[in-house]
């Protein structure tokens, strides 16, 4: 499938997950997107899945504790300064469940976009705002690059007999990671300018024409969003 209709379909699924109130629809979208993401190579998909599902789980577990909604109390806890009384109601659990599913669905839609789409061809299709789309494409590739850099730092430290332990140990790598990505961005900008980026009068390599499946996917994306608004 061409990247534009595929991206439109993923965006539509994320939009439906945000619009609809039906938990089973959001759950079905999240499961479908999870299965889609599992088609990506294991090494690449791990960070996206851990990040998305971990965030959704956090929402599910923490949200009922800090919100104060509903009357059907399941658990009544102590009073915590600033936050107030801790309690969990069945309404809070239901609300946290759907918010967690929404977060998972949106996160997985982004993961599928980053892992499975040919972002280059998406860029080629953008006749307008090419610079912005190029920046978005490079930003998408930043996640695996940062992951590789972090693994490299940890390995170089272990190679000197220094173990990186816990969240504090990893947090100490944030500064060199950020500095490293800035340096890489400068090197890349230099290489891009040396290859004529920013010059006026640029052209665009022709892209393959859309197939019937591409048109169907685009129509399906529009219908999905309209259906979610209508229902």
């Amino acid at each position: 499938m061409s990247p534009v209709p595929a991206a439109a379909l993923l965006a539509a699924l994320a939009a439906v997950a945000l619009i609809t109130d039906r938990a089973w629809v959001v759950a079905a979208i999240a499961i479908a997107l999870l299965l889609l993401c599992l088609r990506a190579p294991r090494g690449r998909r791990r960070l996206y899945l851990v990040g998305t599902l971990g965030s959704a789980l956090s929402v599910l577990l923490l949200s009922p504790l800090v919100s104060h909604v509903g009357t059907h109390v399941i658990w009544d806890g102590p009073r915590i300064p600033v936050i107030g009384y801790l309690d969990v109601t069945s309404e809070e659990i239901a609300a946290a469940g759907i918010q967690a599913l929404r977060l998972a669905a949106v996160g997985l839609a982004f993961a599928a976009y980053a892992l499975l789409l040919d972002l280059d061809r998406l860029l080629q299709a953008a006749g307008f705002a090419r610079r912005s789309v190029l920046a978005a494409g490079l930003a998408t590739r930043l996640v695996p690059t940062l992951e590789r850099d972090a693994a490299g730092f940890v390995e170089a430290l272990r190679g000197r007999g220094v173990e990186v332990e816990g969240v504090r140990g990893l947090a100490r790598l944030m500064s060199p990671l950020v500095a490293g990505s800035l340096e890489r961005a400068l090197n890349l900008a230099e290489a891009m300018e040396a290859r004529g980026f920013g010059r006026s009068g640029r052209t665009r390599a022709p892209s393959a024409p859309w197939t019937r499946l591409d048109r169907l996917a685009l129509v399906a994306a529009i219908l999905l969003v309209l259906g979610a608004i209508w229902l």
Partner: protein
């Protein structure tokens, strides 16, 4: 008319008092292949960047004199405007890649130059064919090896059909075969080629003229044969000393037996064995992708093999081939002290031994690439381990520093077992007692 002319160029980087180039003049004729040699930090890269217009436009700084390439004065035309006339291939392919798909990467420059759309894919394909990478056209760039990626980067600049091709240490990450292939393609184009290298034999075999740059000035500008007689001794190519495979007789301090390792079910090592003995320096060689680094990491204890046995008697330290991994702390001395529990005195000594005395309080990211290489080396050597494993320690290191490193490893050889993973066969010949070559046999016994 000359293709390129540098006239009395003096250039200083911002916040630097010492000029990187000082009163440099030269002319380049169409079609000539010029080797640019010299120590790290001598100004070679700055000279190449000046010819591409990146100095001063991209880096800023103080620029005096004039550089004209293909009739375009680099003070008036930006690097992007010079891109049709001059193309640059940089040292690290990972820092040049913009796109995720190989064909798109090669087409990028053509699009920027305004090539008619119907010519873009044919020219991109022709460039990939030229560098022997046509089969990679649909591959994702992140799945390519360093050698494959550098070929793709070369195709991306060749597709622009430049009159002047500037190569800044383009083969530092490649095995000898890969390096020869890249330089052969580049030098047979018909374009003028300016190539900077820290393995001088490669460009010296192909060039017609040699520039030797030191302390920002051109010390030697001569035809190759004349230059060979006048170059400093370390830069004159020699045949590597042949190495045997017979193991030493010292105590075994690291033993790998029938080790198997796979990344995501892709096997890299299958039943490999290797023994490292105290007192010996072992060179581990072989083509890119054969598993040298993986074997070294298993020996260092950084990777656990899926099967087979590993036995180590003593502390092991591993030097990564990427010096960018040794930039964790805020001061050079603190970085070097990491491996010795913050012992600053030992760190200072280690820094002095690699020529970084006086750099202790600098930020590691303020160091040049050659200085970073030395910091990485000091950060590992400071621990004085029983098992020392160095992965490509001469990448980007100039010949005199390589000679120093070889002498140091030989001096301390009796204290430990040393494994040096390297593509640099000349260095291997200088430093090693024996060679273990992967990719030629299924089992490496020693």
């Amino acid at each position: 008319m000359a293709l390129a002319e540098v006239d009395r160029l003096t250039f200083s980087y911002p916040e630097s008092e010492r000029p990187a180039l000082s009163d440099v003049s030269l002319t380049l004729e169409a079609g000539e292949v010029v080797a640019v040699l010299g120590p790290s930090g001598s100004g070679k890269s700055t000279l190449l960047r000046a010819l591409a217009g990146l100095v001063p436009h991209f880096h800023g700084g103080r620029f005096e004199g004039r550089v004209v390439v293909g009739g375009l004065d680099t003070r008036r035309f930006r690097p992007a405007d010079l891109a049709g006339a001059v193309a640059t291939l940089f040292q690290d392919p990972e820092n040049q890649v913009v796109f995720g798909r190989v064909a798109n990467e090669v087409a990028f420059g053509l699009e920027n130059l305004g090539t008619p759309p119907d010519q873009i894919w044919p020219r991109a394909h022709a460039a990939l064919v030229e560098v022997g990478a046509a089969r990679l056209a649909e591959r994702r760039t992140e799945t390519l090896s360093a050698g494959e990626l550098q070929r793709v980067c070369l195709a991306a600049v060749l597709a622009l059909e430049p009159k002047l091709l500037v190569l800044d240490e383009p083969t530092s990450q490649l095995d000898p075969e890969g390096a020869v292939a890249i330089l052969d393609v580049a030098c047979e184009l018909g374009a003028a080629v300016l190539v900077s290298e820290q393995r001088p034999a490669l460009p010296l075999e192909r060039c017609s003229r040699v520039l030797f740059v030191d302390e920002g000035t051109i010390r030697l500008d001569a035809p190759r044969d004349e230059a060979l007689a006048r170059l400093p001794d370390e830069y004159v190519p020699r045949e590597p000393r042949p190495l045997g495979e017979a193991p030493g007789s010292g105590e075994a301090v690291c033993r790998l037996e029938d080790v198997t390792f796979a990344y995501d079910s892709r096997p890299v090592l299958e039943r490999r064995s290797l023994t490292l003995r105290r007192g010996e320096v072992v060179a581990l060689t072989g083509p890119n992708g054969v598993g040298k680094t993986t074997l070294a990491k298993v020996a260092a204890g950084l990777l656990e093999p899926q099967s087979g046995g590993v036995e180590r008697n003593g502390r092991s330290c591993y030097l990564s081939q990427d010096p960018g991994r040794y930039l964790v702390k805020e001061r050079v001395v603190d970085e070097a002290a990491l491996a010795v529990g913050g012992n600053l005195e030992r760190a200072r000594r280690a820094l002095a031994e690699v020529g970084l005395a006086g750099f202790e309080h600098r930020h590691p990211r303020d160091l040049s690439s050659g200085e970073r290489e030395r910091l990485a080396l000091a950060s590992v050597l400071v621990a004085d381990p029983e098992i020392l494993i160095l992965d490509e320690p001469t990448r980007g290191v100039d010949p005199p520093r390589k000679a120093d490193l070889a002498a140091r490893l030989r001096r301390d050889a009796d204290r430990r077992a040393t494994l040096v993973v390297t593509h640099d066969l000349l260095f291997a010949g200088h430093v090693a007692d024996r060679v273990v070559s992967l990719g030629t046999r299924d089992h490496v016994h020693a």
